[in-house]
């Protein structure tokens, strides 16, 4: 048969819905731009909503594999969901393309997992190093209390303290947290030079608004962290309080490349708002699938596809990226950015680049 089926499992409802929407949009955009046939095969996407609940993910993946006979499973908004599907990828020998979930361990759970998003180790280690070098001595941390948050915290701490920095306060906030006031007050009272923040993308806006309300912006406590808190999606609504926040991340909508300008314009045109890093991950994920199929000449054997993906390099809207042939995880530039006003809108403007960063969180063999 001539069709290649991709089972796309994303949180389209529930608290993580905006992640799912961005990825879904980006894939639609890509297929619109590049056509839906590759190597003579028609690409067919079957979108399923798992609401970020792992047992849904697992059942949907299993049904996609068994009934729909998909050739890829892709998507996965949160770590537990990606992990839940891992044994199925192994058993069925088909590629699992992770387009969002960000903890390090994921790619180790199956030889068929490839990731096009990022790991929190990538951005957190970089910002840790950067902080030490830029005269930040005392940091208070505020991270969401779940696996990615803990990853971010651990890796930041490792690099920051190794360089001589001091953690003066460490607060983990519950994932479903309505009000940041008491935590921010704690931050303020510990009088750090900067606060390291990781909250999942959607909560960044509220966080920053309350950060400003408490006058932390005026008291000279800077916000640093991985880029999730400054997701382009919401950045423009955060208000001037966000100005000056320094984060390390894989993507900024302000990335100064022609490709990115086109991507941002096309995305805005199609969906009415800016793409965030999730959209890019989805865009690259589908690109990876297309390229792998081209390489195998349309063959859908899972092992061949994975082989084809390993070591693949290409230019993404975020910059040059590649798939590490050993870990199947993404290798990408991490940029240090600062929030600035460009044409009256807030953007993460990149000012330093760390090239070809691998995930440092993999268990050392």
């Amino acid at each position: 048969d001539d069709a290649v089926k991709i089972g796309l499992i994303l949180p389209m409802t529930g608290g993580q819905a905006s992640t799912g929407k961005q990825i879904d949009n980006a894939i639609k955009l890509y297929m619109q731009q590049k056509g839906d046939t590759v190597a003579g095969k028609k690409i067919e996407i079957i979108l399923k909503d798992d609401a970020a609940v792992p047992d849904n993910t697992k059942r949907l993946a299993q049904e996609l594999i068994v009934n729909d006979k998909v050739n890829f499973i892709a998507g996965f908004g949160v770590t537990p969901a990606a992990l839940a599907a891992a044994p199925l990828a192994t058993q069925a020998k088909i590629p699992e393309v992770v387009m969002a979930a960000g903890t390090s361990i994921i790619t180790e759970r199956s030889p068929y997992i490839v990731r096009t998003s990022f790991t929190l180790a990538q951005s957190s280690t970089i910002i840790g190093d950067w902080a030490v070098k830029n005269g930040i001595k005392k940091v208070a941390t505020l991270t969401s209390d779940y696996a990615p948050g803990n990853d971010a915290l651990t890796f930041f701490k490792q690099h920051f303290t190794a360089g001589g920095g001091e953690i003066v306060e460490e607060v983990k906030v519950p994932l479903a947290n309505p009000d940041f006031a008491p935590f921010l007050q704690r931050m303020k009272d510990s009088k750090p030079d900067a606060m390291f923040v990781f909250v999942p993308a959607g909560q960044g806006g509220n966080f920053m608004k309350q950060y400003a309300e408490r006058g932390l912006d005026k008291s000279g406590i800077r916000v640093i962290g991985p880029g999730d808190v400054m997701d382009d999606d919401l950045l423009n609504n955060m208000g001037d309080a966000a100005l000056g926040a320094v984060t390390a991340h894989l993507y900024s909508a302000a990335h100064p490349s022609a490709m990115n300008k086109d991507f941002v314009a096309a995305y805005k045109n199609a969906f009415g708002n800016r793409p965030g890093f999730m959209a890019v991950s989805g865009y690259d994920g589908i690109h990876l699938i297309y390229e792998a199929l081209k390489k195998t000449n349309g063959a859908t054997d899972g092992d061949k596809l994975i082989e084809a993906m390993k070591g693949m390099k290409w230019e993404s809207p975020r910059g040059p990226i590649s798939i590490d042939p050993e870990t199947r995880d993404i290798v990408q530039n991490i940029y240090i950015r600062k929030v600035e006003k460009v044409d009256g809108e807030l953007y993460n403007v990149e000012f330093a680049t760390f090239e070809a960063v691998k995930d440092s969180g993999k268990t050392k063999k």
């Binding site: 909503d49 792992p54 299993q62 068994v66 696996a147």
Partner: protein, 343 residues
């Protein structure tokens, strides 16, 4: 002596198997063979049905509302997961019972908090207990795996004979059999004097106590039993999916459960099972039509169900089956119809 005869026949009438019930189970079994490609969703339905049956025991019979039934589901799920993960009990059936007992123990302990108070209080206390357990499971991530859940569970074959397969066939038949056995037990229980006393308590606790029913003791007993059932459902969940993550305790799980049971109707045991079928099928249908906005259509169906009236819908749905059954089994054998609701 005809009075005595009448009394004993009528007294036993409610417990007699109806033709429609036999048909129901025959249909369930037939599904197993008719849709071999849908074992997974059918397992999901069976498990949810068992879970809803558990809620029916306390809500439909004893009138205890709960928004935190996932507490027992979750404890069952994690118990089964930990037993398998650490190889403590490798045989799934024994592990299943063990997990159920752990949940029952929790049910017994928390029942003392729950039997106090009015409906709303019970709703919130049960909810609070489930949320606390969720928070605990998150906190003790070294045992539970935190947000990632238990990873790497591998199930041994059932009774050493039947391995869990990728298509979910073993899992489905295993779940169906467990559910049927537990259903038989529940059926026995609700038609016993004990079951009758529960309905009496639900109807009027004041009067129940005034004829000598030890109200609290009965409520504790049935709450513990229901916790056992929910624990088994949770353990089945872990065993058939090889997963256990924090959302087993979630509010959404308890709330969905309530919807399932209410759709199907309370107080006649089949409500949970029918509700599970209807709810899952609707969800599946709408999700495949619109993965983004299916919630809207589910919501619309719920609203319509209520506005039209559940009783009326039951009557419409059962109109044809009842017609057929009457042809074969005479006038009185219509499909059981739920009692009016608690509260």
């Amino acid at each position: 002596m005809t009075a005595l005869f009448d009394v004993s026949t009528h007294a036993m009438a409610s417990a007699r198997w109806r033709a429609s019930e036999v048909a129901f189970w025959a249909l369930a079994l037939a599904c197993a063979f008719l849709f071999p490609s849908r074992y997974l969703i059918m397992t999901d339905i069976v498990r949810l049905g068992l879970f809803a049956l558990s809620l029916d025991l306390i809500l439909g019979y004893a009138g205890i509302v709960s928004l935190g039934h996932a507490a027992f589901f979750g404890i069952g799920a994690y118990s089964a997961g930990l037993l398998a993960l650490h190889g403590i009990i490798n045989e799934p059936v024994i592990a299943l019972v063990a997990a159920g007992l752990v949940a029952a123990l929790l049910g017994f302990l928390t029942s003392f908090l729950v039997i106090r108070g009015v409906d709303l209080t019970r709703l919130m206390v049960t909810l609070g207990i489930a949320l606390l357990l969720e928070a605990l499971a998150e906190r003790f991530s070294n045992i539970t795996g935190g947000t990632d859940g238990l990873q790497g569970i591998e199930m041994q074959p059932i009774l050493g004979l039947f391995t869990f397969d990728m298509f979910g066939k073993t899992g489905f038949f295993y779940s169906l059999i467990v559910m049927f056995i537990l259903f038989l037990l529940a059926r026995r229980v609700v038609h016993s004097p004990f079951g009758l006393s529960l309905r009496a308590i639900r109807n009027n606790p004041l009067r129940a106590a005034a004829i000598g029913v030890p109200v609290n003791r009965r409520l504790i007993a049935v709450y513990t039993l229901a916790a056992f059932y929910a624990g088994i459902a949770g353990a089945l969940f872990t065993q058939t999916t090889a997963l256990a993550s924090l959302d087993v305790f979630s509010f959404e799980r308890s709330a969905d459960l309530m919807l399932v049971l209410v759709i199907g109707g309370t107080g006649y045991l089949y409500g949970g099972l029918i509700g599970a079928v209807v709810f899952k099928m609707l969800q599946e249908l709408f999700q495949s039509i619109t993965p983004q906005y299916w919630l809207f259509w589910i919501g619309l169906v719920l609203v319509v169900i209520v506005l039209v009236g559940r009783a009326r819908i039951h009557r419409w749905v059962l109109f044809v089956p009842n017609l057929i059954i009457r042809q074969f089994a005479g006038r009185k054998a219509a499909v059981a119809v739920p009692e009016s609701d608690a509260s």
